[in-house]
């Protein structure tokens, strides 16, 4: 075993020092009848050469954003990761250290967390950020729990259908045993109709959760929706896309009390959905209800500025069953990556990235809809992704053909929205070129099947 240090000689010496005759004797405190009498039934050991070979073969069985042109979105995006992010986050002093419990030998990590919190606060227009949560979905659920406990309203939580369906499912699961009702407001037009929301919100409502831009890529009338909630004394939780804040109003500026996001888009690769970065920020007054770790600035005994984990009385290791959350290990490495990423882009870089997504995605949408077969599913303006309706209703066929042509062309929506089973979601990041977009348009146009001459399927 390449990772075991002790040699046979060492082992003998150590056993002697302990005063046992054998390794086996070390396990004497495990009752014999509870011991495993056989070897584990798992495959035999592989050397590094064999393992690398085996994993290379497994990897080769996957298509990926490097081998196909990726237009997939829906909460995960093929944004560019600058080389600096990989190089710095690949330094052992960062990725092989633990949560910074010993401040004296963790100032690197602690300062990064403090810088991260500041960046997130500035991004969101809110007062404070925590050190990270698991991902966007669980962050949404934590935000809802936070709203419930801080408002003391155990009645209901209102979310629109335009919220990421997996976020909605996660919230539902978290609320399962807490007796809080999860109300979903329909969004047939692709965005929340303020009237529908107003009808759903009342004085038992702990919060609403608005995603901006929403799951369909559409821009919600966030200010109006926030006002409805606030008028009812409910809190407003925003789910945002960090990249979009290069152009869009900050959640704190349109009324969000708590803002959460999936932060992988800030320098972390897609890696099949995780590990990602759960971002959470909130207003000052809510900070003592906030889950997760928080770093703060202080001075050491020599009066030197330094950073520590603080406000730990919220946390499980102190408050146990009364903690604001059970979260312990979070996503520190990706908070680091986000910090590096934002430091590299700066305000202009973030603006340009958002603008390229906007320009290219809108170009793609128009070009696609030059084809009579396709139409935009919704009228609302979009930023980075958009929903296309296939008037022939043959989405699976279409996407399969596109795949064969070398494109991960879109995410079919039927799996979450039966009424949208003739629709798919297309995302265009700053990495995509005009050439790639035009090629996609061409490939989708080529997808023709005998039955395709049928009368246009009626809605």
């Amino acid at each position: 075993m390449p990772y075991l240090y002790n040699t046979a000689e060492d082992q003998t010496a150590m056993l002697a020092a302990i005063g046992v005759a054998s390794l086996d004797e070390l396990f004497a405190m495990i009752p014999a009848e509870l011991r495993l009498k056989r070897e584990l039934d798992i495959p035999p050991a592989l050397t590094e050469i064999e393992l690398t070979d085996h994993m290379t073969q497994l990897a080769a069985k996957n298509a990926h954003a490097g081998s196909k042109v990726c237009f997939l979105g829906g909460g995960s995006y093929d944004h560019f990761v600058p080389a600096v992010v990989d190089e710095i986050a690949g330094r052992g002093e960062f990725y092989t250290s633990y949560t910074p419990y010993q401040a004296e030998v963790s100032q690197g990590n602690l300062q990064v967390v403090f810088e991260y919190q500041t960046l997130i606060a500035r991004l969101t227009g809110l007062d404070v950020s925590n050190a990270s949560l698991y991902d966007g979905g669980s962050a949404a659920a934590e935000a809802v729990l936070m709203a419930v406990s801080s408002t003391g309203r155990y009645g209901k939580v209102v979310v629109p259908a335009s919220l990421h369906p997996e976020y909605r499912q996660t919230i539902a699961t978290y609320l399962l045993n807490l007796g809080v009702e999860l109300v979903t407001v329909g969004t047939p037009s692709g965005v929340v109709n303020p009237k529908d929301l107003a009808a759903a919100v009342d004085d038992t409502t702990a919060c609403i959760l608005i995603q901006q831009p929403n799951f369909f890529g559409c821009i919600e009338d966030a200010d109006a929706l926030a006002k409805i909630a606030h008028d009812a004394g409910a809190l407003v939780v925003a789910a945002f896309d960090p990249i979009s804040l290069g152009l869009l109003k900050r959640p704190g500026d349109w009324g969000a009390d708590i803002a959460i996001a999936e932060g992988h888009t800030l320098g972390t690769p897609m890696q099949y959905g995780g590990p990602y970065l759960g971002i959470m920020a909130c207003r000052e007054k809510l900070v003592r209800r906030m889950p997760g770790r928080i770093a703060g600035q202080t001075v050491d005994r020599r009066g030197k500025r330094c950073f520590v984990l603080t406000m730990q009385t919220r946390e499980q290791h102190i408050r146990r069953e009364k903690a604001t959350s059970n979260v312990c290990t979070n996503q520190g490495l990706f908070a680091l990556r986000a910090t590096i990423y934002l430091a590299l882009l700066g305000p202009e870089g973030l603006r340009e990235t958002a603008n390229l997504c906007l320009q290219k995605s809108r170009y793609a949408a128009e070009r696609l809809c030059e084809n009579k077969r396709f139409e935009p599913a919704f009228d609302a303006p979009t930023l980075k992704e958009f929903v296309i309706r296939d008037r022939q209703g043959r989405v699976d066929e279409l996407l399969a053909d596109a795949l064969d042509a070398g494109f991960l062309a879109g995410v079919p929506l039927g799996q979450w929205y039966p009424e949208l089973d003739d629709c798919f979601l297309v995302a265009v990041t700053e990495k995509r070129t005009k050439q790639e977009i035009d090629a996609l348009v061409h490939a989708l146009a080529k997808s023709q099947h005998p039955a395709a001459t049928e009368p246009v399927y009626a809605k």
Partner: protein, 510 residues
Amino acid sequence: MRNSRDTKLLFELSDKGCRAHRLPKCDVPERSVAELLPNSALADWPPALPELSEPQVVRHFANLSQLNMSVDTHFYPLGSCTMKYNPKRNERIARMPGFAELHPHQPEETLQGMLQLLYELQQYLQEISGLDTCSLQPAAGAHGELTALLVAAAYFRDLGEKRTKVLVPDSAHGTNPASATMAGFDSVTVKTLPSGSVDMDDLRAKLDDQIAVFMITNPNTVGIFEPNMSEIADAVHARGGLVYLDGANMNAILGIARPGDFGADMQHYNPHKTFSGPHGGGGPGAGPICVINKLAPYLPTPVVVRERSEVRGQRSEKDTDTSAPTSDLRPPTPSFRYRLDYDRPKSIGRVRAFFGNTGVLVRAYSYIRTHGPDGLRRVSENAVLNANYLLSRVKHFLPVPQGDRCMHEFVASAAKLKAEKGVSAMDLAKRLLDYGFHAPTVYFPLTVKEAIMVEPTETESKQTLDAFAETLFRVIEEDAGLLHDAPHTTPISRPDEVQAARQPVLVWPE
């Protein structure tokens, strides 16, 4: 060689007009943003991010990194955290585009390699735990705890049983009671004896028909194997309750004993501990859970299933049984197809978006494949050997209440030292830093006064353990004043935590 200029805050280093990352010109016809997006949704100014050059960014973070201790640079015997070596080969593998650049919504046909890996990992984890079915979805150990408790709740709801209590030993990790609360249960504390084992009288007193789950950490947080494990499991089961195993300490029993065999109905793993996933300065982790068959229907969706199917796409006889006999683990033949099964009506649903912390799971898979059956057993043997060896050296000058033996870790107490010399566990921890050792975990578990929890792991050498023991001895002999002010050689010393909490400064002002 410290460079304090470049470790100023990003915001202090910012220089208006600097720019590291530039973007390509827009290659499609560009229109004004105002034309494309409603004014009401637009920001008036871009967010106030710092402005830096690429060399400045690199120098800033490279210097910051050197202010950390880490497994790659220092012995890191942080109890309960299993700070073992993180294999570099796994990092290289996880970076392969075929793993790192997969989009979570890709069609299954384009994910057969990844799904095969995840399916096989489910099998391995089931086999190692002795339990029947696995969910890879949870993002960390605590998340696994919550998920398993939600599964238990769904199970009892299905049975029509109203059970409100989750029993948690006082020596348990804080995430256990916190998870119980989040899952909607009342967390009831059970006493443990100085040895760390469960106080059976207290347990019996608190066991009733309201019990849903008993959460036990075994090996427990003082590093011994619960002596009454079977009795406890029987008692809980007799009341219709379920036994949950906190698997944070699996590093002690891989291939030696299986939770499923000693009475657990569910457990989580911490692959970032047991299976060498790097801790990343505070994550990522993962928290896969395994459960017995009767709980399987309630697991989160999706799970990975394997089908025998010759022709791609073609309808094929399904085998939802994800707990295929593990003898079935021979390298799968091309005649298998891997699918995500969403069709689980009794499932609790989701506890996060997307499949799971796949990047961590890829490393765990690599780790298990690297070791094989014999290797995993030797991991635990050596983890336990190292811990007992260190215990045998330390106990002579620092009392270890639990006695002469331990599993993968032990908890010493500085209570006597505190009383006699005014030197606390914290003082010892801080002084060790001066000698180039990371400190053990202190003040956990709460059941041991002035607790010093030491977990060396199997990847450390006898030489290192000897050096650590000698240093600890030397430190104890040192003058108390020296220790109170320790550390003396680190970038900072004894931050004022009270001020940090009283007048919190959580962001740098604009």
